[in-house]
Amino acid sequence: MTKYIDQGKNDTRSGYGDAMTELGRTNPNVVALCADLIGSLKIQPFIDENPERFFQVGIAEANMMGIAAGLTIGGKIPFASTFANFATGRVYDQIRQSIAYSDKNVKICASHAGVTLGEDGATHQILEDIGMMKMLPGMTVINPCDYNQTKAATLAIADHVGPVYLRFGRPKVANFTPVDQKFEIGKAVMLSEGTDVTIVATGHLVWEALIAAEKLEEQGISAEVINFHTIKPFDEEALLKSVKKTGCVVSAEEHNFLGGLGESVARTLTVHNPTPQEFVATQDTFGESGTPEQLMEKYGLNNKAIEKAVLKVLKRK
């Protein structure tokens, strides 16, 4: 299988922050909003260089989404950022009416998604956001896997006209995608070709999928690993082409199995090519306090869980 090297652990939110710095220099229409979480979102350099293009809204996310919608009128491209929980569930109707239904070119940029937020616990660990956002008509949903890809995705969505939900996380994780890889919205990335099973993963689980594939290879199992950084629009062609070859699939995501990537996979397969599938995802539960590693272990969101799911789905072929 194709080997990937960790170029040095980094957090995906820094990919966002560094891309914002770049956008501040290259795109005069880009403006940033934040709800009292500048440090967590890593956007201080953007603010230092473009103070007039930054709007600190305070702890008032509903107002932030509305202001972002209004800023698009006149041609600005607002990047509204906060923790994923407060960027989605807390303001669902504001996003629905003022942004999605109103066709506003707002980029909702959400850090600290999933259980890997860690010790803050379930009040802050949203596992339902992909589902909420992908159900909104016209919303693009992206969940990049590492620092490089988050940076590339942030740059890419500035050029995309329409509302986008960009989801990333808190912990430092392996940074393994090529540094200058162009980000194509809606186009899944083939990471490693295989013949026995397809593993489709998104976000932090992509690296775990690669580790699982290496361990499976040692057992003589050839796994194909595809990075579905975009959940909507969903790259049906990439999935169908792969399962035609492998005949079974494991989906892996740091999200509830209801509403996430796995469900988009299942829907596509059901319609076009019914195929055995196992879900690596949280099982309709809230998270809890703990370290990211402990939580990924407890909630079955790591390479061990993926490996187990592969062995299970292979028996169902």
């Binding site: 403006v31 007039e52 293009r53 709007f55 809204v57 305070g58 008032a60 509903a62 107002n63 932030m64 989404m65 509305g66 202001i67 972002a68 919608a69 209004g70 800023l71 698009t72 009128i73 006149g74 041609g75 600005k76 607002p78 109707d93 504001q94 629905r96 009416q97 003022s98 239904y101 109103s102 066709d103 506003k104």
Partner: protein
């Protein structure tokens, strides 16, 4: 200034449009629409600096945002009579495949509408965003918004009110339609709003109260006064005391017509009180 009697002709025709629109589909919100007719007619035909035609960005012209989207009948009539779209299209209000949805939306491409509204409490935030955009673009035109008084029960308004003052959004004029009524009854019974003027002032706004909120002259004077107070470091609020159902005697002094259409006989009675001026659609 356009002669007041010319504006009054538009007001009466707009009332007829509202009544006929809601009657035809037996749904919609005539009460609040009638209460804000003079305000919106004056705003669009006398006060706002508007360009020909419509483009979403609205650069170098004044902008208006309707937050209390349920008074869409008056909004649609005023937009159509101003020339944003054919008045005949008022015939399609709330019908399948219409651009004139029950609550205003940009989604069907209706000229004149810049954001969807109806789920309450969101419009002021959007207006603030548009006002900030104007400042960034070096555009010295103004942003207006309209809000129901009952709508102020939504917490997002107070986030927006706090933000606008704290950040000196002084190219914004937000008007509160204080008709004292909401669907379930008088606002003071449902959830008292208290002293709105003091509330806005203590948040840092410059506030005008207009007791005669259905007088064209009072409205025009208040809006001109509000314009003169922009650019001075504070957002401006107009608290407009209006009569829900104004211009139709049996729809006044009650919340009963908040979301109810008139019967055939009631329509005839109401139209009789407002004889055709500019021609029905």
């Amino acid at each position: 200034m356009a002669k007041l009697d010319e504006l009054q002709d538009i007001v009466v025709q707009t009332r007829r449009d509202i009544l006929r629109m809601v009657h035809k589909v037996n749904s919609g919100h005539p009460g609040g629409s009638l209460g804000c007719t003079e305000f919106l007619v004056a705003l669009y035909n006398e006060v706002m600096d508007l360009k020909e035609g419509f483009d979403m960005d609205g650069k170098d012209e004044d902008l208006f945002f309707l937050s209390n989207g349920h008074i869409s009948p008056v909004f649609y009539s005023v937009l159509a009579r101003k020339g944003y779209f054919p008045v005949e299209e008022l015939n399609t209000f709330r019908l399948l495949n219409s651009r004139l949805q029950g609550h205003p939306t940009t989604h069907e491409g209706l000229p004149g509408v810049r954001v969807a509204s109806g789920s309450l409490g969101q419009g002021m935030s959007v207006a603030i965003g548009a006002a900030l955009g104007k400042k960034l673009n070096g555009d010295d035109k103004l942003v207006y918004s309209l809000h129901g008084d009952g709508e102020l029960q939504e917490g997002q308004n107070w986030e927006a009110i706090m933000y606008a003052a704290g950040n000196k959004v002084d190219n914004l004029i937000s008007t509160i339609d204080r008709n004292g009524q909401q669907i379930d009854g008088p606002t003071e019974e449902i959830l008292p709003l208290g002293n709105l003027k003091e509330k806005f002032e203590v948040f840092g706004w410059d506030v005008l109260e207009v007791a005669e909120g259905n007088s064209l002259e009072a409205i025009v004077n208040a809006l001109n006064e509000a314009k003169s107070r922009t650019g001075k470091g504070k957002p401006v609020c107009i608290i407009l005391d209006t009569m829900m159902g104004n211009g139709v005697d049996f729809m006044m002094h009650t919340h009963a017509w908040h979301g109810k259409a008139p019967s055939d006989e009631q329509l005839e009675n109401a139209l009789g009180q407002n004889p055709e001026t500019l021609g029905d659609y």
